[in-house]
Symmetry: C2
Subunit: 114 residues, 2 copies
């Protein structure tokens, strides 16, 4: 719960870039090699490598090299950590609205008693 905050920083920052989101979208359909990952992207291979490094250091993606080809995979756990942070804020907000609604309802019925 301590260093995890830093992991959230990294996860959201990784997802903030459209190129990296495109990479994640591709990886969600299955593991791919670096050069396959790079093929549809309009930039140099080193640039893609740098994006991959960001994704890996955020924990969103893992990769391992076999022979000369590095294969990348999504890590759903890191993905759901980010998802849950957002989810909790939304839930919290909605509960607040519920309580507010109940309160207003109380005021209303109190008013009717008079």
């Amino acid at each position: 719960m301590l260093n995890q905050l830093t992991q959230l920083d990294k996860a959201f920052q990784a997802l903030a870039d459209p190129t990296r989101r495109a990479m994640v979208e591709r990886l969600a359909r299955g593991p791919v090699s670096v050069s396959d990952l790079a093929r549809p992207l309009d930039m140099s291979l080193p640039a893609v490598m740098q994006h991959l490094a960001v994704l890996e250091s955020s924990g969103l993606v893992q990769s391992r090299k076999v022979g000369r080809v590095r294969t990348c995979q999504i890590n759903p756990e890191a993905l759901s950590a980010a998802e849950q942070w957002i989810n909790q804020r939304r839930i919290e907000w909605e509960h607040r609205l519920d309580r507010l609604g109940q309160y207003l309802e109380t005021l209303k019925t109190e008013g009717e008693k008079k």
Copy 2:
């Protein structure tokens, strides 16, 4: 679905900063004025204003000024847009694993027939 990509960039980028996440956490518990929002944060008011500007341009937060006090509120729609993007990638990945599992299961029963 077109400009929304840019909105996703902004939403994730907004959430990538721990100060801004702290602000969102505070706002999830209810609307607050700018100076109340700033109070627990260890930085100048202008710095907080700049973070607020980022949150607003991402659509995650809305604010309006009455008299001399600006009150900030969370916008759950923008929050859930980001949440859903992540969710879809995770779902996609899990479905892939399901299909893979079924395929392996098929291979297994095929093998048993022999």
